[in-house]
Amino acid sequence: MPPVYEVFRRERAGAAMQHAGSIAAPDERFAEIYAREQYGRRGESEALWLVPREAVQELGEFVDEFDLKYRRVDGYSLKERLKEARALAGTSRREEPLKP
């Protein structure tokens, strides 16, 4: 199998580079031509980045042993905490809902 190159493209000046796809090419010259033709011929890109796949360092497994939900982008919900509090107080539901 020929080497694989990852291609990133920028739609217009100032925009962020986004992953466009990947191409297989025997060397950089072929990769450049193929990237141009696949991701540039329709005027859909203002610039491309061409990166050999071996140059990409993949990271995975993001440890969160202590469930620090407040650091997450979607925030953390009160649901679980409320359930615990209700169980503790022996009530199923307060008259007035708690303000979150």
């Binding site: 191409i23 297989a24 090419a25 025997p26 010259r29 072929f30 450049e32 031509i33 193929y34 141009r36 033709e37 696949q38 011929r41």
Partner: protein, 223 residues
């Protein structure tokens, strides 16, 4: 017909017929990336043909489609090199490279023309041809660098070299010889050029196929 129109039709016919021939690889090129690239190059050539036909059509009082599709075979001015049907990759690449090299020499001469419209369109076409040449040359380098590729390229060149010479007028041929020999690193045999003006038998089939949609529709149909 003025010399200018003859020149425009010569260039346009070469680009149209080669574009058509190259597009015959769409879907069956050796691998996917090459399929996309070679098809895109074919589309570019046909785009160049269209622009050139439009200039000629203005002088002749007709339109680009009529020039591309409605002329009898004998009136096409394409070089026999572009007419050959060669469904074999090494020959296709050899033809592509020989044509692009010859075309660059022809465009260079046209860019210096006193006719500013001609010089302008030559410059515009050449800006796209740069990438066609990069594509052709990287393939030639690759073929030259491999034990399998070199003999296959040599065999293709032996067949196609007389045709390649025929793309250019006699005064420009020495430049083609120099460029091709420099790239190959070896001299080429002195051979008779296959001249423009006669056509390969395969051209009739190509025209039959290429014009079939046009002929099937009533005149004036719009697409």
């Amino acid at each position: 017909m003025s010399d200018r129109v003859e020149l425009l039709l010569t260039l346009a016919d070469d680009e149209l017929i080669l574009g058509w021939r190259n597009s015959e690889w769409t879907g069956i090129a050796p691998f996917l990336e090459e399929d996309v690239a070679f098809s895109s190059i074919a589309q570019n050539e046909i785009g160049h043909a269209r622009a050139l036909y439009e200039l000629a059509a203005r002088e002749l009082g007709t339109d680009a489609d009529a020039l591309a599709f409605d002329r009898p075979l004998a009136e096409y001015r394409s070089a026999p090199l572009v007419e050959l049907r060669r469904l074999e990759w090494a020959r296709t690449i050899a033809r592509h490279w020989l044509y692009e090299t010859a075309d660059a020499i022809r465009l260079d001469a046209l860019k210096g023309s006193d006719d500013t419209e001609l010089a302008g369109i030559a410059a515009k076409i050449d800006r796209e041809e740069v990438y066609h040449r990069l594509h052709a040359e990287m393939w030639i380098d690759r073929l030259l660098a491999s034990e399998e590729g070199r003999p296959r390229l040599d065999e293709a060149l032996e067949e196609l070299w007389p045709y390649a010479l025929g793309v250019l007028d006699e005064d420009l041929r020495p430049k083609l010889v120099t460029r091709v020999e420099t790239k190959l690193g070896r001299p080429l045999p002195a051979v008779e050029a296959v001249p423009r003006g006669r056509h390969e038998a395969e051209l009739a089939d190509l025209l039959e196929e290429m014009t079939s949609v046009r002929r099937s529709a009533p005149a004036g149909a719009r697409w």
